[in-house]
Symmetry: C2
Subunit: 204 residues, 2 copies
């Protein structure tokens, strides 16, 4: 287990906890107090760790992702979507009809193959509602501008997934990338604002 901890970067007490919760399969017993673990344990540990520590997921939601991975009938896309869906919170109140229509129109016009009623679509509609309530509605052109930027970022990010790695590695990569890259994008947007605002408004 010490070796498993070193290989996966997950501390021993955390590994024991995951084993107890059934999130990581038990090793093959090789003695009264020893067990042997293989590469599949390392991969699974890294994924569970990414889901819990990076994604902030509760154990029930971690189990949903693992179920998708353990389902032999599921393809990599299903594993990635399950993982992604779990990362997006369900909006506390359903978004308005106009915002949902705006999202649906965007998805249609870009021919995006996405779940138009899924959590990401709902999160987007809820965010549009919040801006409209603050008196700064996002019109179709502005939304298209945001979508262009988002698509460019996603295309660049997905270039790192080959599709041939084990589903667990792809899911770990996708979750870590999705969550940890968000502050990168947001900090850059603020820096870009700082730059443009200096150029336009600074007197000196």
């Amino acid at each position: 287990m010490a070796e498993l901890s070193e290989r996966s970067g997950v501390p021993v007490p955390t590994i024991k906890y995951y084993l107890r919760e059934g999130l990581v399969p038990a090793g093959v017993a090789t003695g009264a107090t020893r067990a042997s673990y293989d590469e599949s344990h390392v991969r699974r540990l890294r994924l569970v760790r990414a889901l819990v520590a990076v994604g902030g997921l509760g154990l029930d939601r971690v189990r949903d992702v693992l179920r998708a991975i353990d389902d032999d009938a599921a393809d990599l896309h299903e594993v990635l979507s399950t993982a992604h869906e779990q990362l997006s919170p369900v909006p506390s109140s359903p978004p308005s009809r106009p915002s949902r229509d705006e999202v649906a129109a965007l998805v249609r016009s870009r021919r995006w193959r996405v779940n138009a009623d899924g959590r990401h679509s709902q999160a987007l509609a809820a965010a549009l509602d919040a801006l409209a309530a603050a008196g700064q509605p996002v019109d179709e052109a502005a939304l298209a501008g945001y979508a262009d930027a988002a698509e460019a970022v996603a295309r660049q990010e997905l270039a790192g997934v080959s599709g041939v790695e084990p589903a667990e590695d792809a899911a770990t990569y996708a979750i870590t990338g999705t969550v940890l890259a968000e502050p990168v994008l947001l900090a850059l947007r603020r820096l870009a604002h700082e730059n443009l605002s200096t150029r336009r408004f600074a007197r000196r």
Copy 2:
């Protein structure tokens, strides 16, 4: 005060609280229990409300922004940067030297006129550290890709600020837009991932 509440969209008890805390100047007394407020009160109320309710700022940080606005020597750029800086938390531990160098190189190569040691730069360096620690370092090319997207978004967003409106309105607009548009951008990125992943990895 009822009228002020209606015009600003801020509830009366909240207005009273802001007045007590000195965040909004008192009206001109027109009787024992009446006071008159003007357009400047409405503008100030909207700004304080945006800082507290949207930006999640504490009263001390709100006061820093108001000080910049009330400083006649400050230009619009200074007001906007003060407001923006207050929105970015100071990283809990200083970012690593390599990440700070990477941010500095980016700022230089794009000729961004920004504070290379400011909070946004530090937030960016800290975010790069987190990705590196997770085994997914962001190289120069990937960082440039993120910066392209961020710059396109910021340019579109800043087009809505004319520079001739009162500083309070510009600051309210900037804060609301900065904070409330973040979930729009992030939800779109996830939708774009869903689309690309479906196209690349779905078996059916």
